[in-house]
């Protein structure tokens, strides 16, 4: 009898374990688990602080960051961005005509799932879609006025909370693809994004402290001292790819947009504080 019971228990245990591996989790569950992970790893750091990335782990770097933010290097870009944002296209319309609420205070909602296009749309991508819809040429995603417009739009969202509806259907599929990208090994160094930004968040990688996954999407576009200019999160994706000796993808590739969507959904509820500055 005891043997039979033991055998049945083991069988049940195996079945439950197999079920747990095949049953997928929802974005809300993933988000909750991620927050619990960071809160148990760094119990002294409040959830809202994660918007400042790796600076929460290094008081000296944080002090420098706060000094920089007093006279932020992105300030002129925001001013120019506002001018560009309000300059009419050749057809007389402006960027404001393309966006909800005239494009003001909406950056915290991006990237979002676009039901009509059936794809994830990031803010720079949406800016270029707006240009094309109004007969203008799309702008390059790096070193261009597009980043200034994005910086201005981000500035109008400062202090708002990251928001996104819980995805279903194809949006959920895009989320899952982005999530799988984050946790897949790639490049000659055979590394996942999670190796640096989850497992080794707050550990030194040479001199640098990798920012934690939580809060990685709250502050873009960013003026990086290394770049000496504004850049978007996808420029950082490209850099990460290169650093692990993987081939980077083009800006706004579907894979990058899905990845950004996954990361955005992990940050829902955190304060949006873009544009910002980083080392």
């Amino acid at each position: 009898m005891i043997r039979l019971l033991t055998f049945v228990s083991l069988l049940l245990l195996g079945t439950v374990s197999a079920w747990a591996q095949t049953t997928d989790t929802t974005p809300a569950e993933d988000r909750e688990a991620l927050r619990k992970f960071f809160q148990s790893k760094f119990p002294d750091i409040p959830l809202d602080a994660y918007k400042d990335g790796a600076y929460i782990f290094d008081p000296k770097a944080r002090a420098q960051f706060e000094e920089i933010e007093e006279f932020p290097p992105w300030e002129f870009d925001v001013e120019e961005g506002e001018e560009l944002f309000n300059t009419p296209f050749k057809n007389g319309k402006t960027y404001a005509d393309c966006f909800e609420n005239g494009g003001i205070g909406i950056a915290q909602k991006y990237p979002l799932w676009d039901e009509k296009r059936q794809e994830v749309v990031t803010l720079p991508y949406a800016i270029n879609l707006c240009r094309e819809a109004n007969g203008e040429q799309p702008l390059p995603y790096e070193k261009s006025d597009l980043l200034k417009v994005q910086a201005y739009m981000a500035y109008t969202s400062r202090g708002k909370r990251i928001e996104a509806p819980e995805p279903t259907g194809k949006a959920l599929e895009a989320y899952k693809k982005g999530r799988e990208y984050y946790y897949s090994k790639r490049g000659q160094l055979d590394m996942t994004c999670a190796n640096c930004h989850l497992q080794h968040a707050a550990s030194r990688l040479r001199y640098e402290l990798p920012g934690p996954l939580l809060g990685q999407t709250t502050h873009w576009p960013v003026y990086r001292s290394k770049w000496e200019e504004l850049g978007d999160i996808q420029r950082r994706y490209k850099e990460c790819n290169k650093q692990v000796r993987a081939k980077d993808l083009p800006y706004q590739a579907e894979e990058y947009r899905n990845l950004q969507y996954y990361m955005h959904l992990m940050d829902v509820g955190l304060e949006f504080n873009g544009p910002s500055s980083r080392k």
Binding site: I2, R3, T6, F7, L10, Q21, T25, E29, D30, E32, A33, L34, K36, F37, R179, E180, Y181, Y183, S184, K185, R186, G187, Q188, D190, T192, A194, N195, L198, Q199, N241, K242, R245, A246, K247, D248, L249, A253, E255
Partner: protein
């Protein structure tokens, strides 16, 4: 009770071990039938070195491009550079180097393929699971 649990665990391990070695055996080619790669290699070895090098490079490029079409997000940064260098070596007539480099490209494609397979089965291992 403890003995019973120990026995069941042991039997389960033996059973799993047998399954695992069985699946390994399933991948082994049947005795007496030479794998197709070997016959291809033997045929290739009869060719002049320049022709062997050219064929090896073409084959490696084909494998790389086939992989790239399906899995562009798993490509490695330097493989295209290696292919370009191998092409140069072919033009210079450095056939031994071409053969070595073509083999390296093939190896890299196999490793990239391995990452794709690993991602399919194991990506959740790195995630914080609820």
């Amino acid at each position: 009770m403890n003995k019973t649990i120990l026995m069941v665990t042991l039997l389960t391990s033996l059973f799993l071990g047998a399954c695992s070695s069985g699946s390994d055996n399933a991948q082994t080619p049947a005795a007496g039938s030479a794998p197709p790669e070997n016959s291809q290699a033997a045929e290739s070895a009869r060719l002049p070195l320049s022709e062997q090098a050219k064929q090896a490079l073409e084959q490696a490029i084909k494998h790389y491009e086939d992989f790239a079409r399906q899995h562009r997000s798993f490509l490695w940064r330097d493989t295209e550079l290696l292919i370009a260098q191998t092409k140069e070596a072919l033009q210079k007539g450095e056939f031994d180097l071409v053969l070595q480099s073509a083999e390296k490209v093939e190896k890299e494609v196999r490793l990239m393929q391995g990452q794709v397979e690993f991602a399919k089965k194991n990506w959740r291992k790195f995630m914080v699971n609820p």
